[in-house]
């Protein structure tokens, strides 16, 4: 037994570092502008399908906040051959799951289902891309559901409104100023005419990407996509993207928000460049050093050693346009915001004054190696990575290429980006202090 064990240990010690497997894919552009990406994975007879529409809350016009997301709900309200709510029913009855989400930049519809349902799913997605048909009554009723969603997510939970407040103060001109759910007033003001305009403009094949990952043969899947999508005409209304650029801020913005919360909270948002910017890679590695795992700097200092916070995170929200790098604290009972902010800023400043150690850099990269491997196991995760690369980076190859960019980050890169972005005048701070309920 002992011998066997030691032989085995030797064997394991000699194992080369495990490298996450790349996501192999095929990409095709149909004549109507639809992008189709396929990834074969035969390990389990399931498929994940995602339709990415390149439209999100940043495309909303003033007075129409929340509309992209409201529209997402309406995509389940029927098309020429599918009755309202039938979409979900068909998938559920097959044992599949389906949903959709709206973000600042994109709206994504997805379903995971037993592999024999691929053609039917494609038929359904094509039907709602081509022939959505929402009644006034269903529109109004679904708007109530979305208003409830706003209550559930933003207004009722103790800390639900933090990001809405922060973004409203952090941005002046860029549409990231409003969060995706939008305001009640704007939701109430939305009309069925808005629905038709929006659909006609954005829900067109040349603004969409179909991603399929799972147990199929790529050629056959592509034929089926063509069969149902190829004759959907291109969009006729030009898509005008917002070109608003948030001007650099030269002074810290600070908002104090007294609220009936149980523990004080602190959120700082530092302006950072867009997803895919060369600086995004060292910033991500820096965020691993700061707050990935219990041995990370911020966790170790604020949560473990000083016991100032019960939650302490630092990570970038990388999106199509420049967004924010968040440092968030939920304070421990009896700990003050002032102490927390001081300890947090000390860690951010340390990155600007001394290089990280070799061990820490390796650890941060190993975290990334782990994230690539653990985060690309399921067909949904793989399709998600492909869709993100294709739509946000406009370069599907980044799905695999970015890995090397993370691995190449140096100590100097980290210090440089820390100096560039972790400056007090580059941030908006929200301080939430507990107050007796009204």
């Amino acid at each position: 037994m002992r011998l066997v064990a030691s032989v085995l240990m030797l064997l394991l010690l000699q194992t080369a570092p495990s490298k996450p497997k790349p996501v192999e894919y095929k990409e095709t552009r149909l004549p109507n502008g639809l992008t189709v990406i396929t990834h074969e994975d035969h390990s389990t007879p399931v498929i994940n399908a995602q339709i990415w529409y390149h439209v999100g809350s940043k495309d909303e016009k003033p007075g129409k906040t929340g509309f992209a997301h409201l529209f997402e709900h309406l995509m389940f309200k029927g098309s020429a051959h599918i009755k309202p709510e039938e979409h979900d029913k068909i998938i559920t009855n097959a044992g599949g799951v389906s949903n959709a989400y709206t973000q600042d930049d994109v709206t994504v519809y997805w379903e995971t289902f037993p592999a024999n349902y691929l053609e039917k799913i494609l038929w359904m997605e094509a039907d709602r891309m081509a022939t959505l048909d929402v009644s006034e009554e269903n529109f109004k009723s679904e708007r109530e559901v979305v208003k409830e969603e706003r209550l559930t997510r933003i207004e009722n939970p103790p800390y639900g409104d933090l990001l809405e407040l922060l973004y409203d103060n952090a941005y002046d001109v860029h549409p990231y100023k409003h969060i995706t759910i939008g305001s009640m007033a704007d939701l109430n003001a939305a009309t069925i005419q808005d629905v038709r305009e929006f659909y006609k403009t954005y829900y067109v094949p040349d603004n969409a990407t179909v991603v399929l990952a799972g147990d199929f043969k790529a050629d056959q899947a592509l034929d089926e996509v063509k069969k149902y999508f190829a004759d959907i005409p291109r969009g006729q209304t030009p898509i005008v993207r917002s070109t608003a650029k948030e001007p650099p801020h030269d002074k810290e913005r600070r908002i104090s928000h007294p609220k009936a919360v149980p523990l004080p909270a602190y959120v700082a948002g530092y302006y950072i460049p867009a997803d895919g910017d060369p600086d995004s890679y060292p910033l991500t590695i820096a965020s691993n050093i700061l707050s990935a795992g219990r041995s990370s700097r911020i966790y170790k200092s604020l949560v473990y050693d000083k016991q100032l916070a019960i939650q302490a995170d630092a990570s970038g929200n990388f999106t199509e346009d420049p967004n924010l790098f968040f440092a968030i604290l939920i304070m421990n009972r009896g700990a003050s915001i002032a102490e927390g902010e001081k300890a947090l800023n000390a860690e951010l400043m340390r990155l600007t004054t001394e290089p990280v150690s070799d061990m820490e850099l390796e650890k941060a990269k190993n975290k990334m190696r782990g994230e690539y491997a653990f985060g690309r196991e399921s067909v949904q995760e793989k399709a998600q990575s492909l869709g993100h690369a294709a739509v946000i980076h406009r370069d599907t190859a980044t799905v695999n290429k970015e890995y090397e960019l993370f691995m190449k980050v140096t100590k100097e890169d980290i210090m440089r980006v820390a100096k560039t972005y972790f400056r007090p005048e580059n941030r908006t701070v929200l301080v939430v202090t507990p107050q007796a309920p009204k």
């Binding site: 399931v46 009855n93 208003k147 149980p262 975290k367 782990g370």
Partner: protein, 477 residues
């Protein structure tokens, strides 16, 4: 409207002339029966059950050790002991400090976590294949040699109290906690596994040492090794690292009877600044191993297992009252719970509650129509391949079978058992095991605005949010 869709109509016409028939849905070809992937099971001489399953999609290995003792073994009046015992495992051993453990596992990009649940304690580790030896080494060290240092316990208690303080003001959390407390009374199933504001400060190092020595035993545990590792290597590593874990006699919990609900018990938690009301309705139900479990499960899916269920159709789709309305079973070795959950704007509280009660009653009044029954069953059966896709899911399925002692053939036969459920079975369990009269109702919201509308449903207890006390028999301070 007409004009616009006229235009769409033209597109449609164009597409009709194309070869593809888009008018009717392409019907899926039958899928060959999907089986749970091949795995091997062995029982080590110390009684530890080991499952090994190969998975090579990514160079990763997941280890999941389940000890079938959790908060159900907490000492009476001291909820939280099982959870703290688990929480302290990776916070220091005889030879490693908490920081050394964190450094070691973070350095290789992996994780080692432990948590105490209601009926089990789970230690899990995920690593890249190159670090599988380290995963076994750390997991067995935290399992067998925890230090339970007083300083670490104090730190964990402070963290936990802060977390709980925050949670106790979250309407969603408090609704769930109060619902369990009301239906289970003083039985541990009604306790917060995390412990309560009263119990947490009372937990001593000795409580953890005792819990660990009494319940952490290989003969009531299972280890699932799933990942990029040959079955042979998996068993060798299991024997090498877990072989020295000592077998012992483990006492089974002596818990009080679960109370019988008679009439409605309506508990309103008053949160004057709430804009929505959290709603929970339900009662205890059959144990996980009960022959009627599948019948109740199908009933819960018809009622509200998915967005296509009756609750969601009635409350969300037809009336726009909520973002979500669902029904579920929380399975337990003993009596589980059967509950409906939703939330709605304050002024619609009574309307939403009455609709939930109405849907429950309908389930008891008449048989589920054949197509609707078939849909619920197809979902439960059809979702099987989705539930066995990634290593963590596979490991979790294997340990769940072990936890509830469902038998070796369970993963092969449960789809047939679901197929066998008839409309008659569902109606019978709905009448026998599902009740609208003898049920707990928990509402968390602005009581003044809806309290009057509850008249006629039964006696209403109103507790101000800041007076809620889960340890007190009358739930209030």
């Amino acid at each position: 409207m007409k004009k616009y869709f006229g235009l769409i109509g033209l597109f449609l016409l164009a597409s009709c002339s194309a070869k593809a028939d888009k008018q009717s849905a392409p019907e899926p070809k039958p899928l060959a029966r999907v089986d749970f992937p091949t795995y091997e099971k062995r029982v080590l001489p110390n009684g530890l059950t080991v499952y090994a399953l190969e998975y090579h999609e990514q160079p990763v290995v997941s280890l999941r050790l389940m000890i079938t003792a959790g908060a159900d073994n907490d000492p009476a009046n001291l909820p939280g002991v099982a959870a703290f015992t688990a929480d302290l495992l990776n916070k220091g051993t005889k030879t490693r400090t908490a920081t050394q453990i964190a450094e070691a596992i973070d350095q290789v990009g992996g994780s080692v976590e432990a948590s105490g649940d209601m009926e089990s304690t789970v230690i899990s580790a995920s690593v890249l294949t190159d670090s599988v030896g380290l995963a076994f080494e750390l997991m067995t060290d935290v399992l067998m040699n925890p230090a339970f240092s007083p300083a670490e316990l104090a730190r964990a208690q402070q963290q936990s109290l802060s977390n709980l303080t925050a949670n106790m003001e979250d309407p969603d959390f408090i609704a769930d906690a109060m619902f369990d407390r009301v239906i289970y009374g003083s039985h541990p199933y009604g306790h917060l596994t995390s412990g309560t504001l009263t119990s947490i400060p009372k937990i001593k190092r000795e409580d953890l040492v005792q819990f660990h020595s009494k319940y952490y035993a290989p003969n009531i545990s299972a280890l699932a090794i799933v990942g990029d590792l040959s079955t042979a290597d998996a068993f060798k590593l299991a024997e090498q690292w877990f072989g020295s874990w000592t077998k012992k006699d483990v006492p089974r919990p002596q818990n009080p009877e679960v109370p019988k609900m008679e009439g409605h018990r309506i508990v309103v938690i008053d949160k004057p600044d709430a804009v929505q009301t959290e709603i929970r309705v339900g009662h205890t139900t059959v144990p996980r191993k009960d022959p009627d479990y599948f019948n109740v499960l199908v009933a819960s899916y018809v009622l509200g297992g998915t967005g296509s269920g009756r609750l969601s159709q009635t409350l969300r789709v037809e009336r726009g009252l909520t973002y979500g309305a669902y029904a579920s079973i929380q399975p337990r070795k003993g009596p589980g719970s059967f509950y409906s959950t939703t939330d709605t704007r304050t002024e619609k509280t009574a309307e939403a509650l009455n609709l939930v009660l109405g849907e429950l009653q309908k389930l008891r009044d008449s048989e589920v129509p054949p197509q609707e029954l078939q849909n619920a069953k197809s979902y439960l059966i059809g979702s099987f391949p989705l539930s066995i896709e990634v290593p963590n899911d596979l490991a979790s399925r294997l340990t769940t079978v072990f936890l509830y002692d469902l038998g070796e053939d369970y993963l092969k036969t449960y789809r047939d058992k679901l197929s066998d459920v008839s409309a008659g079975d569902v109606l019978r369990v709905a009448k026998d095991k599902i009740s609208t009269d003898n049920a707990a109702v928990v509402l968390v919201g602005k009581a003044d605005d809806f309290k009057k509308q509850l008249e006629g449903l039964g006696k209403v207890e109103v507790i101000p949010m800041n007076k809620v006390d889960l340890d007190s028999p009358n739930l209030t301070r």
